[in-house]
């Protein structure tokens, strides 16, 4: 019960910040809309010039939306740390009774909110401009979104651990990490497209299984539950690994006095 109260206090801390900051709200909402407009026009163009896109209308837009779920989820976690660093606030929250895992739980809850609030307007834009509904994916959509949210969490936790360990100089990772991983996520093309040596690396990523599953539903009209199970199991393993790395980095930050030093 005490943990829930502390987690809620931190959720409110990020909510107060978000609701008062117009630039943060614009940033959260605008990029998915820009993405959907660009990928929507590209999809329209390719529909008349590519048999693959013509066969599975909306596969690029669906890929964009689902990859944005992962990116927004990751940013929700890692930017949470950066907000504390920018505010020179780490020293206060970590001498309060707040446990590190409670703080991560608050960041994860906020990342769900940021993802939903950020993508909802873009979903409406896609429906209004391109007659595309993400919900046509049906029930599997819930599994795809859940897996990508969790992937965003563990990636965000790894980014947080890196910043705690190596300092604020590593903050660009928060924005770069999804871009670095996207070629291996097989977001817009099947894993089969990748060279032989890259395939095992891609298949070690939960995202590749999610997007194979998504294409199964959209292109072949078949739901492949094994892809979702593989993604979920990989997520569990990476989440546990990320938690261990975070604990190590947190202790290292306490050894080096980073909580007092980090800030602008």
């Amino acid at each position: 019960m005490n943990s829930l109260r502390r987690i809620w206090a931190m959720v409110m801390r990020y909510w107060y910040l978000l609701r008062r900051s117009v630039p943060r709200i614009i940033d959260m909402v605008s990029w998915p809309i820009v993405d959907v407009i660009m990928w929507g026009f590209l999809s329209q163009f390719l529909a008349g010039n590519s048999s693959y896109i013509a066969k599975a209308g909306g596969v690029l837009l669906a890929g964009m939306f689902l990859w944005d779920v992962m990116s927004r989820s990751q940013l929700g976690v890692s930017v949470g740390l950066l907000e504390e660093v920018w505010a020179r606030h780490l020293g206060h929250i970590f001498v309060s009774p707040l446990r590190a895992w409670e703080w991560l739980a608050a960041l994860m809850l906020m990342s769900i909110f940021r993802t939903v609030a950020g993508l909802a307007p873009a979903v409406l834009v896609a429906w209004a401009m391109y007659d595309f509904s993400l919900f046509d994916l049906g029930l599997p959509l819930a599994g795809f979104i859940a897996c990508l949210l969790v992937m965003g969490w563990w990636l965000g936790i790894l980014v947080v651990a890196t910043i705690l360990r190596f300092g604020q100089g590593a903050e660009n990772l928060a924005w770069a990490a999804p871009f670095v991983l996207s070629p291996l996520g097989a977001v817009y093309y099947p894993v089969a497209t990748l060279p032989l040596w890259l395939k095992p690396i891609a298949l070690a990523m939960p995202a590749a299984h999610v997007f194979e599953g998504m294409r199964g539903v959209m292109v072949d009209h078949v739901f492949k539950p094994d892809e979702l199970v593989d993604a979920a199991l990989l997520n569990l393993a990476y989440l546990a690994l990320a938690a261990l790395i975070f604990l190590w980095a947190f202790r290292s930050a306490r050894m080096q006095g980073k909580m007092l030093q980090m800030g602008e």
Binding site: A9, H89, G91, V95, L260
Partner: protein
């Protein structure tokens, strides 16, 4: 001169033995030992770089020592700091609160983190006592340095801490505000705390008037060591000086001496 050996262990709220902190080649705190009695107000004095802030960070569990032990309210602050943290708090001008949150929002977050009963009432009490009721709806970032100091002190008092650690508690305050804060701290130390003994305050300060007025005991640090200790009046008498500032200058400018722990 107080000694750990002469005190009843039940009276001891802070017990530090052989505390050492090294950052690379630099020895920030050099094997210090001291105890603080429950209900006392102890001043931690020393010039810049003497090791005061590092010592406070280790007392809070924010910094892990290289060697030595710290027990606060019986809890080992390296392994079990969460046992003590709900009953202690901290303020420092070197760590901020989030600028984009209002004063009320900031204090509400900390009321949640410290699980304060009736948080609105507690915030109103503190705002009245520290004279910032008119600022409650203002963004913390829009406040003057002195106003921020008072709000940060309210954050440190939000949970009615049994042990309060303060780094420069009246920095940036005009003489009138500083006097009000000192009077409030004196009252708090006398009236709060556990077992009818009053709260315990550990204050790091350069303001000798403040230290003389507030503190029962002094620990003087120099180059990471405790070089002297005693009551303000006792030290003035022992050094044959008129004021504590003169005593401080004598110690700060003296040739290196053996640590006070080593003296008979």
């Amino acid at each position: 001169m107080p000694s750990a050996n002469l005190q009843n262990p039940l009276d001891t709220i802070i017990s530090v033995q052989g505390l050492t902190k090294r950052f690379g080649d630099s020895l920030a705190v050099d094997g210090i030992s001291f105890t603080v009695t429950e209900g006392s107000v102890t001043g931690l004095l020393g010039g810049n770089g003497a090791g005061k802030t590092t010592t406070i960070a280790m007392l809070l569990g924010m910094l892990i020592p290289t060697a030595g032990t710290i027990r606060v309210m019986g809890a080992d602050m390296v392994a079990h700091r969460y046992r003590a943290l709900p009953r202690m708090n901290f303020a420092s001008p070197y760590i901020d609160l989030p600028h984009r949150l209002s004063v009320t929002e900031n204090l509400s977050v900390y009321a949640g983190l410290y699980m304060v009963d009736r948080p609105k009432q507690r915030i109103a009490e503190l705002a009245e006592a520290l004279d910032f009721t008119a600022l409650l709806k203002r963004d913390y970032g829009s406040l003057s340095a002195g106003q921020k100091t008072r709000v940060a002190l309210a954050k440190a008092l939000i949970n009615r801490p049994r042990l309060l650690l303060l780094d420069e508690p009246t920095a940036s305050l005009d003489p009138d505000s500083a006097d009000r804060i000192r009077r409030y701290l004196q009252d708090y130390a006398r009236d709060s705390g556990a077992h009818g003994r009053g709260a315990t305050l550990l204050i790091a300060s350069h303001n000798m008037v403040e230290v003389e007025r507030l503190c029962d005991e002094l620990l003087i640090m120099r180059r990471g060591k405790i070089v002297d200790r005693g009551t303000p009046a006792g030290m003035i008498e022992r050094y044959g000086r008129q004021t504590l500032e003169e005593v401080f200058l004598d110690i700060a400018r003296a040739e290196p001496v053996a640590s006070a722990e080593a003296r008979p």
